[in-house]
């Protein structure tokens, strides 16, 4: 910029002639006033996201303070807390509790399954194997969400491959015993809470693997060596060295698994019981019931829960692992 100011275009011997006209004027303006260019670049995305997205979020929040007229089914556009009162009915609290429990269990299971994959990929896989592991996580992550659910519908169906496999292994009695249990059981796995749980874990697993792997890759190898030099058993090294250092990664992954489970309404609808989850409640309130205010109030629940969750995660240093 100082160069430009010291040697105005007219006197400086340019290698290419200036293009002149409006284009040249604009180009010069951008060069002299970078803030103007910055503003011009930022304006479209900020306007789009600000109006479409943040605007919609405000519309949502606003709707949750409206109420529905029970007789006419029309939305009453007056400020009220009545909708939030409706939210606190026992049936709705049940839905919230069920969803949060499921989210916690799914997060736990995803962490347990993800850890060995992430650990192997970060510590032992080299060269081509590393690429293979990476694609091995990335492809399922990006594969169609509905197709993944559909695949599990095929697997868990009464006549499907899992029943066939268990029959071959003479383990059908185990499946029947499990299905006869209350809460987790049901007619077949595809209409039981166990089925919902398995599919949730499957679909969100890659979201857990990636941050855990990233966290483990940052652990210097000589820390592990030092630990065993000082006489720690592999178990002790894991508990006292590796696990604490991988924890931010696990917490970062759990943000995804937890939040995604809280908001999902398609998996429990296709594979699961008729007991509702938060997402399903939102969907049916806005759709068949036409009660957008209650649907909006319901969505505020996962936002608040995730707010607390993110606050806790930040304190544990999870954001550095993202």
């Amino acid at each position: 910029m100082s160069l430009d100011a010291a040697m105005p275009r007219a006197t400086a011997p340019a290698i290419l002639p200036g293009s002149g006209g409006l284009r040249g004027a604009l180009s010069d303006l951008f060069w002299r006033r970078p803030q103007f260019l910055l503003l011009l670049m930022l304006l479209p995305p900020v306007l789009w996201l600000g109006i479409v997205y943040i605007g919609s979020l405000f519309a949502l929040l606003l709707q949750s303070f409206f109420s529905i007229d029970e007789f006419s089914g029309l939305i009453n556009r007056q400020f009220t807390l009545k909708t939030y009162g409706d939210l606190l009915q026992a049936a709705n609290l049940d839905i919230i509790l069920r969803t949060v429990t499921m989210a916690a269990l799914v997060t736990l299971a995803a962490a347990v399954i993800a850890f060995p994959i992430a650990y192997y990929a970060a510590r032992y896989a080299r060269g081509r194997w590393k690429a293979l592991f990476y694609l091995g996580v990335m492809l399922p992550l990006w594969s169609s969400y509905l197709v993944k659910i559909y695949a599990w519908k095929l697997i868990l169906a009464k006549e499907g491959i899992l029943t066939w496999l268990l029959a071959k292994l003479h383990l059908l009695w185990l499946l029947d015993a499990w299905l006869s249990l209350p809460v987790v059981g049901g007619n077949s796995l595809s209409v039981s809470s166990t089925g919902t749980f398995i599919v949730f874990v499957y679909v969100w697993l890659p979201f857990m693997i990636l941050p855990v792997q990233a966290a483990l890759e940052r652990v210097p190898g000589n820390l592990v060596e030092a630990s065993s030099d000082l006489g720690a058993s592999p178990g002790q090294t894991f508990r006292n060295v590796l696990f604490p250092l991988a924890l931010p990664g696990i917490v970062a992954g759990s943000i995804f698994t937890f939040s995604l489970t809280l908001g999902d309404y398609i998996i429990p609808q296709i594979i699961g019981t008729s007991r509702l989850f938060i997402g399903q409640a939102v969907y049916s309130q806005q759709g068949t019931a036409g009660n957008i205010p209650l649907a909006a109030a319901f969505t505020v629940v996962p936002i608040v829960i995730m707010g607390f969750y993110l606050w806790g995660a930040k304190r544990m240093g999870a954001f550095d692992a993202l």
Partner: protein
């Protein structure tokens, strides 16, 4: 022993890692088998016989073609919008430090960080408040919003690796801003944009949660599949469509991976 080969893994870890990867991949492979099954009424395993007739049946289904056409049009336009917005935002954020820079990154990431149902119901209630009827453009509005982040992530990573002195050199040699963009900046970020665009296309093509809130009566491919999942009418056609969807979303991911694999951040790690 070669020094680049580390110690070998304990057997238990190998088994757990392999098992985990199989758990991730086998269900998807199963879809490919079911596309050829002769069984129409149930999901019976093993398939009683194999046939390719369902491909012909699917080919002649107008509803599948309509859904596919809508999905492709929505994905193409959303990707185009996301490419422009994402690149502009990435250029602004990586070029300069300014007040509110962190807020801008957060704003871009938010639509994908919050559960899809929140984005969906938020758009739905905004449409209801503003009394906007559902149309092709309401779907695009939602899709473009969450596609910006994938383009942005790829472009930011590339801008970070591109040296600013190249732009200065171009200017010193007398190129104006537009020439510099056309001949210096664009060739440098082209593959990152292509990768980001591919991922955005795949993301939009596959999106169902937000779409159910913004589509009204229109059917994209995922909505068509969702209907079939809830009320199965023709299972063999669904099997074939599922297989095609896997292939259609897989190819862009592989291409995006190969375009950006030598970079510091590989495309797709931030879905």
């Amino acid at each position: 022993m070669r020094s680049d080969r580390g110690p070998s893994a304990p057997i238990g870890l190998k088994l757990a890692a392999t098992g985990g990867l199989l758990f991730l991949h086998l269900p998807i492979l199963l879809i490919f088998v079911y596309a050829f099954t002769t069984e129409e009424k149930s999901f019976v395993w093993p398939p009683p016989g194999l046939t390719t007739q369902w491909f012909a049946v699917t080919w002649n289904r107008p509803d599948v073609w309509q859904a596919l056409s809508l999905s492709v049009r929505v994905a193409a336009i959303s990707t185009a919008i996301a490419l422009v917005l994402g690149t502009l935002c990435a250029a602004a954020v990586s070029r300069t430090k300014f007040f509110g820079r962190e807020t801008i990154s957060l704003l871009v990431i938010l639509p994908i960080a919050l559960p899809g149902i929140i984005t969906g119901i938020a758009l739905r209630s905004a449409f209801a408040l503003a009394e906007i009827p559902f149309s092709f453009w309401t779907i695009v509005l939602g899709h473009a919003t969450f596609c910006v982040v994938v383009v942005y992530n790829n472009a930011v990573a590339r801008f970070r690796r591109t040296s600013g002195s190249m732009i200065e050199a171009s200017m010193d040699l007398g190129a104006d801003g537009f020439q510099t963009f056309r001949h210096v900046v664009l060739p440098n970020i082209a593959t990152a944009l292509l990768a980001g665009g591919m991922l955005a296309f795949a993301l939009s093509f596959d999106e169902v949660i937000v779409t159910t809130f913004t589509a009204g009566q229109q059917q994209t491919v995922p909505i068509w599949m969702l209907e079939e999942l809830i009320r199965p009418r023709q299972r063999p056609v669904t099997n074939v469509v599922a297989m095609v969807v896997v292939l259609v979303t897989l190819l862009p991911i592989l291409v995006a991976y190969y375009l950006t694999r030598d970079g510091d951040q590989i495309a797709g790690s931030g879905k």
